[in-house]
Subunit: 412 residues, 2 copies
């Protein structure tokens, strides 16, 4: 080995080898690939999803509801699993509405957020009886007119653009000027308009950011969220029926990242819940999570089709790539490319014996899965696992790019 | 208007208004949308593609062949148009092979490059009679074994990883250690192996970079490519049958970008062609272009579904977004987000009257189509046009993200 490798992200807890091979759900990945028939393949673990949910529920106060944001992963078996484990589902389009309805989810447990809802989407959502998280005064007026026209009482909440953000979050969703929600100081008049119009008032949705690993930052944002919700409810003059506190619970992707301390988050929430102001005392309280619930439970498996040397560097070229795992290539929402957690799945746990670049099969230099990684010796036919592939992998990648088509997916 | 707007990219030449509305192919975009039935919609102009090709052919020496890299845009009607206008088609996957064959393209005019070709892809390509641009010694051996097994004489070229890059290019495809091609100093022995094995020797493919706007840089790379091809051919000892000089011809996307001077490129090529070394004298010479041929001929149309104010900024929220136009959102291959060319299509050419952010409908802050743009006053129902959408738009975006599905496409 020459030169220094670049670090890989941390492999999530719970992955082990069977006979030297990565196993998921107790089965070696080669057996899973044989069952699926091909690589590339996303494998999601039902057991790990359930364990994550159990861990979270143990850490958080009983009172809090856990909602699943299906945009993270809407593969049908995963969606059905989450529908059974979570207390609610959050959707972001008419397409996702159709998905949750076809999966048999109870519309009363579904809420629909998103800054650009078309009239057809509003009508479908109101007709189905799901809660709309309104993103603007204009959207509210359109929703009221549609509800009137189709003779339904709409279930309406307001998404708030808070006057704070989630410190250290990967994506800021609040604070400053945003396309999301109604600025906090304009929420109360809109809520009063909705209540006076005879709609079912479903309270507030306050989402300050996502992908935070610092418990203190999450605690501060949740505290500010409760304070803001109380202030708005007092301004409205009606006790809040429900409050979606948003998400923001991150997972470690990169070297140096450490898991979020959900125990600390839960303890702080319990303290707050013990002394809730009157306006929040009876509210349904929920967190909305996607990545945190399913991200670590997914692995993207791809096979090495070529091993080559170029000017002193080794390239392991796989049959997968950024068309399935855009974020792992460093091309989605990141400024500086860093390595995701990645391993040679067919020699899982073996000692590093080379420094290699792991790249995809696309004819573009953007298609890189690992840069100068220290890996066991790997050859054509060996399998590569990219971890943290359970959220925003298959769903957030350009699967048609270069005509390779989507990867297979399975839940085990 | 308060504060300073951020500049928009330059709108490509050839777009005009009819009755104040952007027209493509002589028809106002509202009529095109009515025909397609919906927004978001990609519209590609056959006339502009043909004009671009004619402009290019007039600038380049007659001898040069112009190949189209279908990865830029493989929408069936565009592909058929390019098959009739270009001298060859370049593909990058078995999926793209199936596309060109189903469109009736002559396999003898098709070449297949890509660093991770699977055995099934090699077999399909050899069986169909397309030229393989081999990316490594390992791939060459696999191709030879497959050809032997299926009893075909494969048409083989070698992709070279040159020892130079394309200065100022948006993506470097050569120079240094690369997953693409065989390092220049190892090409000759591989070529001799291929020739001695009785394959049809199809020469070299040398691709130094893409998206360059500086003619001098393209001229320097083409000159270095011809020199390198000559040196390799002399080492092989066989006159070169064909040389794919690669592409690299860029289009302006951002404020301050100026079009590539293809006249200068053509004049320099003509000079070189007038005194080609013996080893290249009879070679088929080609450039391989994608973005340059179709990029400016496409427009992405999306409708404003909400207009809102947030803390002093205006947001125009559209029914489109990064799920169709990832690169325009600044999330694909760019480090610093800059605005693409964009206009209010329903008031095309009207004077700016506001500074607004144009965002997509996705529930993520990444979904931004224009940041603080100076635009005419626009409201719900107005149409937004994002230009330079003919290449790497529909094909290179995560169309399933958040369940909105793909945009419609039409060629006029």
């Amino acid at each position: 080995m020459s030169d220094k490798p670049k670090p890989l992200g941390p492999i999530p807890a719970g992955y082990h080898a069977i006979d030297g091979e990565l196993a998921i759900g107790g089965r070696p990945v080669s057996a899973l690939i044989a069952e699926a028939g091909e690589t590339p393949l996303f494998v999601y673990s039902r057991e790990m999803i359930a364990a994550r949910m159990a861990h979270l529920r143990a850490a958080l106060p009983d009172r809090i509801r856990v909602h699943y944001a299906i945009k993270a992963n809407s593969f049908r078996p995963v969606l059905e699993t989450m529908a059974s484990l979570a207390d609610g589902l959050d959707i972001a389009s008419a397409g996702e509405l159709a998905l949750v309805l076809s999966a048999g989810c109870d519309p009363a447990k579904v809420s629909f957020a998103g800054p650009g809802k078309r009239d057809e989407e509003l009508e479908a959502a109101i007709g189905a009886g799901v809660t709309l998280n309104l993103e603007s005064e204009g959207e509210a007026e359109r929703a009221l007119a549609i509800a009137e026209r189709i003779g339904m009482t709409p279930r309406l909440a307001i998404r708030v653009n808070p006057d704070f953000d989630l410190r250290g979050s990967g994506m800021k969703m609040g604070g400053g000027a945003r396309q999301f929600g109604v600025d906090a100081d304009r929420v109360a008049p809109l809520a009063m308009r909705i209540i006076q119009a005879g709609c079912e008032w479903r309270g507030l949705h306050i989402f300050a950011g996502s992908q935070a690993l610092d418990a203190e930052a999450v605690i501060a944002a949740q505290g500010a969220t409760l304070d803001l919700a109380d202030a708005i409810a007092r301004e409205i003059g009606v006790a809040l029926p429900a409050l979606n506190l948003g998400g923001g619970f991150g997972i470690p992707y990169f070297a140096g990242d450490t898991p979020l301390d959900v125990g600390a988050v839960g303890a702080a929430l319990a303290d707050r819940f013990a002394a809730l102001p009157e306006m929040l005392a009876e509210a349904e309280l929920a967190v909305e999570l996607g990545r945190y619930l399913v991200g670590e439970a997914g692995v993207y498996l791809t096979r090495i089709v070529d091993r080559k040397e170029s000017r002193g560097e080794t390239f392991l070229i796989t049959d997968g790539g950024l068309h399935h795992q855009l974020a792992a290539s460093g091309n989605f929402g990141t400024v500086v490319r860093r390595n995701y957690p990645l391993a040679i799945a067919s020699q899982f746990g073996a000692a590093p014996a080379q420094i290699a670049n792991v790249v995809g099969c696309l004819c573009t230099p953007l298609d890189r899965l690992a840069d100068r990684a220290a890996l066991p010796r790997a050859d054509v036919g060996d399998l590569v696992a990219v971890f943290c592939a359970g959220a925003y992998g298959a769903s957030a990648s350009p699967s048609n790019f270069l005509g390779h088509g989507p990867a297979a997916e399975m839940l085990v």
